[in-house]
């Protein structure tokens, strides 16, 4: 069992090894929905929620597969679990808060193919995190994802007014900003140690 302290796990997954800026996980939504601040923020929160739920399910699944001694089934069952988690979250949101459901729109179902979520569960199992540790890891990863997404959305909204050269329009510009953000996030290195 991994003995890492919780705060170190949290800072590690949120800032030092930010999912987008250090692991490149979840780049599709990062490039795709970082155009507007409000949607970016909601997307980030939705991802965080799903990540936390998936962490719990993933932990249960790990335990189950260990009991069954069938580690080779982990990937296929994880992806199934994530797909159903997304489904359940979507139905729950639709039932309890139709307004939020409409606001999130297409971004909820998008999450099945979000590699940040699968990545977060895979990392938890690779590092042998316990239940609480997995939860903290997922929360940190989700909030770090949200932070990166929101920062990027703010910058992109502002650059909507800028006279950027043609060749850097669109994805290339987003990637340049991501690169600079990634360099800035390197400042957090070593915070856990």
């Amino acid at each position: 069992m991994n003995q890492e302290p919780l705060w170190s796990i949290f800072i590690g997954s949120a800032l030092i090894n930010n999912f987008v800026l250090a692991y490149f996980l979840g780049l599709c939504p990062f490039l795709g929905v970082s155009g507007r601040l409000t949607t970016a923020f909601r997307m980030g929160l939705a991802v965080t929620v799903v990540m936390i739920i998936a962490a719990v399910c993933g932990y249960g699944l790990r335990w189950l597969l260990a009991v069954l001694n069938a580690p080779y089934l982990s990937l296929i069952s994880l992806i199934a679990v994530i797909a159903s988690t997304v489904q359940v979250v979507e139905m729950a949101v639709r039932k309890f808060s139709p307004a939020l459901f409409r606001a999130l729109g297409i971004f909820l179902p998008l999450m099945t193919t979000n590699c940040a979520i699968l990545g977060s569960v895979l990392f938890q199992s690779n590092r042998g995190l316990g239940m609480v540790q997995s939860l903290v890891f997922a929360a940190g990863a989700g909030l770090g994802f949200t932070l990166a997404l929101v920062l990027m959305a703010g910058l992109r909204e502002r650059l909507g007014l800028a006279r950027t050269p043609d060749v850097v329009r669109g994805t290339a510009l987003t990637l340049v900003i991501a690169g600079i953000l990634s360099m800035a996030f390197m400042g957090f290195s070593g915070l856990g140690g």
Binding site: L25, G35, Y72, L75, L118, L122, G170, T171, L173, G179
Partner: protein, 231 residues
């Protein structure tokens, strides 16, 4: 961003009699999954820090892509449309698990270097995208050519990134020193920011050199593609 090229994709998929070479070449160049369509970014950036890793990752992705396209195309009459995505994911996850095992059996070091990113091939938008956009309603042969083309394009793109990053980052290629022992490596190229910058550089190069003429002529402004993304 050349959405113009991506636009032609729909036209191409609708046409039935496309020569195999065209089917192959469009994935390599005109609709290159990385440089033109900007798909499957996560492995592209994460494991392209050396040319070796990039080639290994590219080959693994290509293998899964070819097999999944073939499987989906063969089963296209059988799979009920409502559950096709679930089925695709099942197929892809199976293939990825098998590829993962094969890589482990081949070299533990390589498996360590690629880490969790092999498993993440499952959620590579490129593979699911090709299954859905083409293989689901094409003959196995066409799906095969398409997968080979897209896979090669992906592999080449990864190699372009990996080679630049390794060459500038440590002055070597495939671990063999190229620029001499005195060369001072740019560590940043091996780090995440370098991945972002090099990919941005390639995209700029592509949109500067390879901007399809019809996109300019049709006045497809980049804003539109951005809005398309947002919508």
């Amino acid at each position: 961003m050349s959405m113009g090229a991506a636009g032609t994709q729909t036209a191409a998929t609708d046409g039935s009699a496309v020569p195999a070479t065209d089917e192959f070449l469009k994935g390599v160049w005109k609709q290159n999954p990385v440089f033109v369509q900007v798909l499957g970014m996560c492995p592209v950036l994460a494991v392209s820090n050396t040319a070796t890793n990039a080639l290994a990752m590219g080959s693994a992705t290509m293998a899964v892509l070819v097999l999944s396209n073939l499987a989906v195309s063969c089963l296209r009459q059988v799979i009920p449309p409502q559950v096709r995505i679930v089925t695709y994911i099942l197929i892809i996850a199976t293939l990825v698990t098998i590829v993962d095992h094969l890589i482990q059996a081949w070299s533990v070091e390589l498996h360590r270097a690629l880490g969790a990113f092999i498993s993440l091939i499952v959620v590579n938008c490129l593979i699911l995208g090709r299954a859905e956009a083409l293989a689901a309603h094409s003959s196995p042969l066409r799906a095969l050519w398409d997968a080979l083309g897209m896979g090669t394009g992906f592999l080449l793109a990864l190699f372009c990134l990996g080679a630049v990053r390794e060459l500038i980052g440590s002055g070597s290629l495939f671990g063999v020193s190229v620029l001499g022992p005195q060369y001072q490596g740019w560590v940043v190229m091996m780090l995440p920011p370098g991945g972002f910058f090099v990919l941005a550089g390639w995209l700029m190069l592509f949109s500067w050199v390879g901007r399809p003429a019809h996109a300019v002529a049709a006045g497809l402004p980049d804003r539109a593609s951005e809005l398309g993304r947002k919508a």
